[in-house]
Homo-oligomer: 405 residues x 2
């Protein structure tokens, strides 16, 4: 059974409503969203590995410990990070306000924030925004919610897929924001996925963990891991399929659709990286093992030298092999082949660790496209991995180097 | 006894001669240097940890295995990396040519290169250059040699210190090149240190290893570890001091001078990082241990977000604590104090993990200076470390993103 792409985002699955409003945390743009499931949902989350965890991250980790949630409240414009006891109190208050308005237990509300670090939340505005959202949530509110979490993102990021599981149609929808900043104090990834699948908590947790490793953890914009990163999934069971458990065929079906949503959302984030002019996919093939492939692919997407070379449309394979070389993996440099490809064609730049006398014109034509693929063949085993990133442009410096814009 | 700064570089110690010439690897600028000791010297080297090691790195590792060397040949404009068997043959040939002209054993010649990756060495030009250098080596050639290894460096980097050991004057000189590129294919650190100290091989090796950890390994321009990095020291004993061995007071004296040379040269590299407009020193204090302090300091100097913030003269302590948070160390974010300082003054930005209501004007004044110090006090132990870096400017993108300039 194939995964079918669907219109919409978090409100595409049955029983999910959402809204996004402007409440004044940001000057003009939408800055607060609520997502709501008509019934209590099975829920799972993955969180930043940064030792500095924002207050909403800490509260959400607490609230998801029972594997259940029914609503999500998320704001942009303020990260509620490095805000001490007051920050924790504010994050808890956000959950309480939503719970009150929607008749829920505060422990079933997920709280997330993105924006400036070290400034306390303007709770009056937040309270108003939550009231407004809870009044206006609807099945049509997904796009507004996706818009309300944008920061320097240039487009809203949402998607949905449909698939058949045990004769029932299961829908999975998601929204995310890119590694952008609203104030120059933050880089945050936030991702919220909804599904009407009936799935046990353990299986949902496993799906989120595995798909995160293949998607969100494989993108890099600037190598900085935020204090507020969070990916959360709510599964409300309204598709009425037989309960999905680990290790079954149904799980594999669900996972395929779920991973597709995560990968497509992750790719949107990389494509919309701050100042990006090009989207870069790096495939590492035939590594000694998968972990090595992952390390190598991530080192290439993180390298400032590779990123600036691709911005300059320079077929600079020396920087690519150099990044693989310092990635910490074991490999034989004298076996490495490096290819580039895009809509304009594919070509090999280096073979067995040495440069080929390739056509600079053809390379330039390939690299002048917006979507660039780099393939590194280590010819040493069967480990493979794909990572995504973007180039490093003047605009990245401009966006992050402009004082308090 | 104090370390006294001295004029000159690699030819400041007794018995060292040098020359730097233009032989045509680069279009117009000096591109080949030879350093020579009148007597066989005790020698040690540290090399790139990149799995992709350039041919000269591999030959020099071989040649230094007996702990002896008498000459160094180094070119800029071509890295002789990813050049296969031909590259190894060319690097060996460079040692042979120098040995022939100066009447040495080829195994006593150190070979180093920096420049474009993946292009074979123009050996006719190199041969001419070596002949020219070997003819013209003199005690006045240190500055020319330091000039000949420059790439995108904006100033030549050399220095020397004098100190008294056992009644004898010992001189230590050094030269280095920054993490610049001549072609957009390379980032290399090369450092050559000479001394007339009489020191046993084991002690010299230890001094180089320990000082490298405190100096070259504590700078970051773009986080990319080159295929050609190399720091080599030659000690020819002509100061006639009593042999320095490990664990003695004389060793401590020597080490102090040696570390000073390494740190000052490393700071010159950071100061002259590609596109840099500001020099950044990051001190991490009171970390649980020294390793944690090193990791945290390096994470802050490597962070693109911290680097762009300092370019923008933005007192963005959120990005600093965020980088410490993902550095992989164990610490309590709620204890962290962060300060900035420069010639214009010092101020605290955050205390106990939370932002203070500081004067933006004063912060701006401090950050508008060229030399910026960031102090991160973890208040958890007695580990401390200092790292150096530079800001990330439009010019970094320009230098590395311009196609084949």
């Amino acid at each position: 059974m194939d995964v079918i792409f669907n219109e919409g985002g978090v409100t595409a699955p049955k029983g999910f409503l959402a809204a996004g409003v402007h409440c004044g945390i940001k000057k003009h743009k939408k800055d607060l969203a609520v997502i709501y499931s008509e019934v209590l949902a099975t829920a799972a989350g993955v969180f930043t590995t940064n030792k500095v965890k924002a207050a909403p991250v800490r509260i959400t980790m607490e609230n998801l410990s029972d594997g259940k949630a029914q609503a999500i409240v998320v704001n942009s414009g303020n990260a509620n990070a490095c805000t001490g006891e007051r920050g924790l109190k504010d994050a808890r208050k956000m959950a309480e306000l939503v719970a009150q308005k929607l008749g829920l237990n505060p422990h079933d509300v997920v709280v997330a924030s993105t924006g400036v670090i070290g400034v306390s939340m303007p709770m009056d505005k937040v309270r108003q925004g939550i009231e407004q959202c809870c009044k206006s949530i609807s099945v049509y509110g997904g796009a507004d919610a996706a818009t309300a979490i944008m920061t320097t993102d240039t487009f809203k990021k949402e998607m949905a897929v449909k698939l058949e599981i045990g004769g029932k149609t299961v829908t999975i929808g998601g929204m995310t924001k890119g590694s952008g900043m609203i104030h120059p104090n933050m880089a945050t990834m936030l991702c919220f996925i909804t599904t009407d699948a009936n799935i046990e908590a353990k299986a949902l947790k496993k799906a989120l963990k595995d798909a995160t490793a293949k998607s969100f953890n494989m993108i890099s914009v600037d190598g900085d891991t935020s204090t507020n990163d969070m990916a959360v999934v709510l599964a409300n069971g309204l598709a009425e399929n037989q309960l999905i458990t680990c290790g079954t065929e149904d799980y594999e079906l669900f996972y395929k659709g779920f991973e597709t949503v995560c990968i497509e959302l992750a790719k949107m984030m990389a494509r919309d990286g701050e100042g990006a002019t090009k989207f870069i996919e790096v495939q590492v093939k035939n590594a000694p093992d998968e972990i090595s492939a992952v390390k190598a692919a991530r080192a290439v997407t993180r390298s400032n030298l590779v990123k600036t070379a691709i911005f300059g449309e320079d077929a600079n394979w020396g920087r690519i092999i150099c990044a693989v070389g310092y990635s910490g993996i074991d490999f034989n440099p004298d076996l490495v082949d490096i290819y580039i490809s895009s809509r304009a064609g594919e070509m090999i730049l280096a073979e067995n660790g040495m440069g080929l006398n390739f056509s600079e014109d053809k390379a330039k034509a390939i690299l002048s496209e917006k979507d660039i693929k780099v393939i590194v063949d280590l010819k040493q085993g069967d480990g493979c991995a794909t990572a995504w990133g973007c180039d490093l442009s003047y605009d990245y410096v401009k966006i992050n180097g402009s004082y308090r814009t």
